[in-house]
């Protein structure tokens, strides 16, 4: 019995964290956020660490690790607000391809760091602004909003009726435009499909759900990391910032704000670990755990991001410390792949508590 990270997982965590601390500090993130570059070197570094092939079987050129390992990496990326096409390329697309047994070639290309894949799932979860996507057996019609990494080589698209398709970036009848969001460490855009050729990956609802569950757990892990960083920054700030001749952390109000953040977040760590583990090892609990993990981390992340900003006082509100990069990443994670209220209804349905 061992509930915790293995030595290998701790090594993985350390090596990713070391790379990100050294090579992708906040100044580097800012450059990406201000659209001064596309973050290619960041991705290249992650490729060198073997991240793209993390959950791809060794037989397909990957590392063959599990979803808990991937959650550990996702947490690191959130901790460092790292701009990287992780959720689509490293998680959701590989899960789709592995589960469906399709496009071994693409799986290999992903593992080799040669291909990236974006994700257009919003419309299958709950289409906004009259967006929506239909597939007629060979072509896609409609539009997808807030597509993650919409400029990637491929996009994994889920239709309104939850079919999974792969669309090539240079497909005919595909229009793209950037959709600017408050979260500048990720690029999101709109895709308009006009009879766009697409390859059917799966019509199996179970496959769709596995892909979605995995994506949600990774977003929750990302929020876990981002929130942990905000707590770490808050505690460090509260120790050195002085007002009324005392470090502000010696005031009960500030101390208790820090304690409440920790008390809320700490159990989330075990929840995320279990959710990652369950994706591979406890299939009968995977869906419910994924739902609760995504929804709960969204709530805790929201509370932590507010409180941490408050602990920093006016400095927290400025761009000077860049605290808002974490704030916004947590806010964005909350909304994509299903906002908490919607996911909680799913959690009730999974348990047959509602029809």
């Amino acid at each position: 019995m061992e509930f915790g990270l293995s030595e290998e997982q701790i090594l993985l965590q350390d090596s990713v964290n070391r790379f990100l601390s050294d090579q992708v500090p906040l100044d580097r993130v800012r450059k990406f956020a201000e659209e001064k570059d596309a973050g290619d070197d960041i991705w290249q570094g992650l490729v060198e660490l073997g991240i793209p092939g993390l959950i791809i079987p060794e037989a397909s050129g990957g590392v063959g690790l599990g979803k808990l390992d991937a959650a550990v990496v996702s947490e690191c990326l959130g901790y460092h607000v790292t701009p990287a096409p992780f959720i689509g390329t490293v998680i959701m697309a590989p899960v789709a391809l592995i589960e469906s047994g399709k496009r071994e070639d693409l799986l290999r290309a992903i593992a080799a760091g040669e291909s990236k894949v974006g994700v257009a799932f919003g419309e299958s979860i709950g289409a906004r602004a009259d967006a929506g996507i239909e597939f007629d057996g060979s072509k896609l019609t409609g539009k997808a909003l807030f597509v993650l990494d919409y400029l990637a080589d491929f996009v994994l698209v889920a239709t309104n009726d939850k079919k999974l398709l792969l669309v090539s970036s240079d497909a005919d009848g595909l229009d793209k435009r950037e959709l600017t969001t408050v979260e500048r460490t990720r690029r999101t855009g709109e895709l308009v499909f006009n009879n766009t050729p697409a390859e059917l990956i799966s019509e199996d609802l179970e496959v769709y759900l596995k892909v979605l569950d995995a994506g949600r757990v990774m977003l929750a892990a990302d929020t876990l990391g981002a929130a942990q960083n905000m707590i770490d920054q808050s505690v460090a700030y509260a120790k050195v910032r002085e007002q009324f001749n005392r470090p502000i952390g010696s005031f009960q109000a500030v101390k208790h704000m820090c304690a409440e953040m920790v008390a809320n977040l700490e159990p989330c760590r075990a929840l995320v670990w279990y959710a990652g583990y369950a994706l591979d090892e406890v299939p009968e609990e995977a869906r419910l755990t994924a739902c609760h993990t995504k929804a709960h981390l969204s709530e805790v992340g929201k509370a932590v991001s507010k409180t941490a900003t408050e602990v920093h006082g006016g400095m927290g509100f400025t761009d000077l410390l860049g605290l808002h990069y974490w704030f916004k990443r947590i806010g964005f994670n909350r909304q994509i792949l299903g906002a908490p209220e919607l996911i909680r209804e799913e959690a009730a349905r999974v348990q047959n508590l509602v029809t």
């Binding site: 959709l179 600017t180 408050v182 709109e190 502000i248 500030v254 900003t309 408050e310 509100f317 909304q335």
Partner: protein, 396 residues
């Protein structure tokens, strides 16, 4: 309880309406100090709709203070969607201070141009190391002959980049206890040695500035109150600021806009209002907005009827109002899902992105104007008479 204004006020309301009808095509918008703006401000003062209670000798309209009249003016201008003229910290904070604490010369020199919108002010209070503990400010002013020589830095100085003058707290007696060593100076923003740098905040706007002073020279008599009395002078107006950070009228407007949004926006074609969990949160917020609205009416009313005690009701406005407003905007983001994340040139932007902007801005206001932690201290100590924390003096 009597929520009617009475017939004499209805006559006044008709006068305001007539004025607004007459001027409905008058141009009122424009840059600071532009002809439209200055003309409209002059018209407003002449008719008593701006600077209403400022004495005539200082350029105002000279009416007796009357809260209901002010309220009617505000209501009718809002209904007509007409500008109520110039605001800003000069008019809202400095002018009342000068009326209270200024010399006759200062009143004559500054009040007129300020209320006419010709003279724009900024406020120099907070410093990087003096936030909640404002009285620990360090910007120094040293007397050199007939001039103060100022060195130091201010932060959170809104409109500093557009201001003609600054009213500024500086330390003039470094040896005195911290509250007694501060003076309140007025000086021109084009004085040599002033450097204004925009301060970008989490909304990615430069809503504020940092202002750096290097050997800025200021005539000795540009001080309000006595040397070392600056803390008293400043506190005579700090109350003005706090209440205004969380206006219940603005909150009600936002609530109605949110109801609108939830009725219009859809998920899979189904109105957001049909989602029970969102609706439940909306109803909770609506009840709280109502409570704050009535609380505001109660406070307003108590300024007319001095028998009503609204000390606590007033003290909690900043704390409750900013938190509630932040939550209201947060609900809007939640119901919008990904759409709520849009900013800038995003074609799916809703309501110009104001929901996202306000969500962050009101987090700023939870912190600004005395953090909500400091507010709770004030409510506990001054409102409820709970004992202060024992003072600790740490020598370093």
């Amino acid at each position: 309880m009597d929520l009617s204004y009475g017939s004499e006020y209805e006559t006044f309301r008709t006068e305001v309406q007539t004025f607004l009808e007459k001027h409905k095509d008058t141009p009122t918008q424009g840059a600071l100090r532009s002809e439209n703006v200055l003309n409209w401000q002059r018209t407003l003062i002449e008719n008593g709709y701006a600077a209403r209670t400022i004495p005539k000798e200082y350029g105002g309209y000279g009416a007796e203070p009357n809260i209901l009249e002010s309220r009617i003016i505000a209501e009718e201008f809002a209904n007509a969607q007409m500008s109520q003229g110039q605001g800003g910290q000069g008019i809202s904070m400095l002018v009342p201070t000068l009326l209270e604490m200024g010399t006759e010369e200062q009143k004559k020199q500054f009040i007129g141009p300020t209320i006419r919108g010709e003279m724009i002010w900024c406020q120099g209070y907070s410093e990087p190391s003096a936030g909640s503990d404002l009285a620990s400010l360090r910007t120094s002013a040293v007397l050199d002959g007939d001039e103060w020589v100022i060195n130091g830095q201010k932060i959170w100085t809104s409109t500093a980049h557009m201001a003609d003058w600054i009213f500024c707290l500086v330390r003039t007696e470094p040896e005195a206890p911290k509250h007694q060593g501060i003076s309140f100076l007025l000086f021109r923003m084009d004085s040599p040695g002033i450097d204004v740098r925009p301060l970008v905040d989490m909304t990615l706007n430069a809503n504020f500035n940092e202002v750096f002073f290097t050997d800025v020279r200021v005539p000795k008599d540009q001080i309000v109150g006595q040397r070392g009395q600056g803390w008293l002078v400043a506190n005579s107006i700090l109350g003005f600021e706090r209440g205004s950070l969380a206006s219940p009228d603005a909150m009600l407007m936002r609530l109605n806009a949110l109801i609108d949004l939830m009725q219009k926006e859809t998920i899979n074609g189904q109105s957001l209002m049909t989602y029970p969990s969102y609706r439940d949160r909306l109803m909770q917020i609506q009840a709280r907005v109502m409570a704050m609205q009535f609380n505001d009416m109660r406070i307003l009313s108590s300024r007319i009827n001095k028998n009503q005690d609204t000390k606590l009701a007033s003290m909690i406005v900043k704390l409750q109002g900013t938190e509630l407003r932040h939550e209201l905007e947060a609900l809007a983001l939640d119901v919008m899902g990904e759409l709520g994340m849009a900013i800038g040139d995003n074609p799916y932007l809703r309501d110009k992105g104001l929901w996202q902007y306000h969500y962050m801005y009101f987090l700023g206001l939870i912190i600004g104007g005395g953090t909500n932690q400091i507010q709770k201290n004030i409510i506990g100590e001054r409102g409820l008479g709970l004992p202060r924390e024992p003072k600790v003096e740490i020598n370093k």
